[in-house]
């Protein structure tokens, strides 16, 4: 059975390492914060100028002057800090943030990512995504394996305008965990109950399958 969005977030949370600073994009990535493994200290960076981002405020305590990059009211944890956008992207560009998790419309087997523009449709802008993908050492993409029409979003090369080139290292979809290297997608794990053949069918890019592919564990 393919994963739902929460489960994708839950699987990605297993990738978190102790003492990492993490930037979570809007959508599925935001949910990762709900599944931090026990014993792991991480801090969340929000690129609008907040480190140590906490959960949504208790009803009635929300503050218009304390939002995240998705413009949602949030809180700040003990030991957090506030800063301007230049220093925030200094952190990102300077590779002080260990992990970036973000969504994508397409990923190609050489690690290109497209997630900001569909020609002919209204373009809302790249926000901080281009800085994040151009800078991060460690990028995990959270996405659905196929689009609504069933077409693969895991491609030989992207058809949409790129957000960044050769930057994606790992992808967690509703069907699989993929590693991107050597100009191919390496199938690391299957969603529980999803067969290798189903993943093959849903993947347009070059897929490498080595030995038995284990199911994800939760």
């Amino acid at each position: 059975m393919s994963l739902d969005k929460k489960q994708i977030a839950q699987r990605i949370a297993q990738e978190l390492k102790h003492n990492w600073y993490v930037n979570l994009g809007i959508g599925i990535p935001t949910l990762v914060a709900n599944y931090i493994p026990k014993g792991i200290d991480v801090e969340f960076q929000s690129e609008n100028g907040l480190l140590g981002m906490g959960p949504f405020p208790i009803e009635g305590t929300e503050d218009a002057d304390l939002i995240n990059a998705g413009k949602q009211t949030v809180t700040i944890l003990q030991g957090g800090s506030l800063f301007d956008s230049a220093l925030s992207f200094a952190m990102i560009r300077g590779q002080h943030v260990q992990l970036t998790v973000l969504g994508a419309m397409e990923v190609s087997q050489n690690g290109d990512i497209a997630n900001w523009k569909i020609p002919g449709k209204m373009v809302k802008g790249m926000g901080g995504a281009m800085d994040l993908v151009a800078s991060a050492d460690n990028i995990i993409v959270a996405m659905m394996h196929t689009n609504r029409k069933g077409a693969s979003k895991i491609l030989e090369s992207c058809s949409l305008p790129l957000t960044g080139v050769g930057c994606v290292k790992k992808i967690v979809t509703n069907l699989a965990v993929l590693e991107v290297k050597n100009n191919a997608f390496y199938l690391l794990e299957r969603a529980p109950g999803v067969s290798v053949d189903e993943i093959k069918a849903a993947t347009a890019g070059k897929l490498i399958i080595e030995g038995d592919v284990p199911e994800m564990k939760f």
Partner: protein, 233 residues
């Protein structure tokens, strides 16, 4: 001590004209110069180029200037919360230049810091880098980006003193400090204007040297764009 105080928003905006380039602080609706925007609407000047991370919503923030067709061009990183914006953009009435958010922030800082250009990895290999110089440093590719040249910067701070020293609050800081540095004329509205000497000199976010005019703002709505809460248990 050099005094930067002007009486009100009218005095603060003296000299703004149609066709000018402005910077406006804020991220979403957080930390936007509400008083300056209202005054710009009232002044009715148009053909403006606005450098601002976002473009407000239909009936608040820069959306108010869009409604009156006062903006010719937006330079932003994300503009997606505004129907009128979309209509004007798709109809070709409004020119839009989209810039990666970190590049936008750094270009604002560079403007104020006398750095005419710098290299950043953001956007390399994408259409953002088209027509721009690219270059390799230590095996990685970068794009050359330039400073802006805005006539006015409109900034919102939390506290300010009569010498123009500023303190911002929470994530309402965002682009405001770099834009304060960047304006040929920087106009600051504050929630609380105090006497010089009342702010701790060690805790000032932007020194008054960057500020040309400061005034006590009023009637702040501080609208919340996405009210997300944890229910009381």
């Amino acid at each position: 001590m050099i005094n930067k105080v002007v009486k009100n928003v009218h005095e603060a905006l003296e000299g703004v004209k149609s066709g000018m380039t402005f910077m406006l602080g804020g991220f979403g609706l957080c930390g936007i110069p509400e008083n300056a925007i209202t005054e710009l609407v009232d002044l009715g000047i148009d053909n403006l180029t606005c450098i601002s991370n976002n473009a407000g919503v239909d009936d608040f923030g820069l959306g108010l200037l869009l409604q009156k067709h006062q903006i010719k061009k937006m330079i932003s990183s994300y503009v997606g919360e505004n129907d009128e914006f979309e209509r004007q953009m798709l109809s070709g009435e409004l020119e839009v230049e989209l810039i990666p958010q970190g590049t936008l922030a750094e270009r604002c800082r560079a403007t104020g810091a006398g750095i005419p250009a710098f290299y950043t990895p953001a956007g390399f290999g994408t259409e953002v880098a088209e027509g721009k110089e690219t270059r390799e440093f230590n095996g990685k590719m970068y794009v050359l980006e330039h400073a802006f040249n805005p006539e006015f910067a409109f900034v919102k701070a939390w506290k300010g003193d009569t010498a123009g020293n500023l303190i911002f609050k929470g994530t309402a800081r965002n682009f405001n400090p770099m834009m304060a540095m960047a304006g040929k004329i920087t106009v600051v509205e504050v929630e609380e204007l105090v006497e010089a000497g009342e702010l701790d000199p060690n805790q000032i976010h932007i020194p008054g040297i960057f500020v040309q005019r400061i005034f006590q703002g009023k009637d702040y709505e501080k609208r919340i764009e996405q009210r997300t809460v944890t229910p009381k248990s």
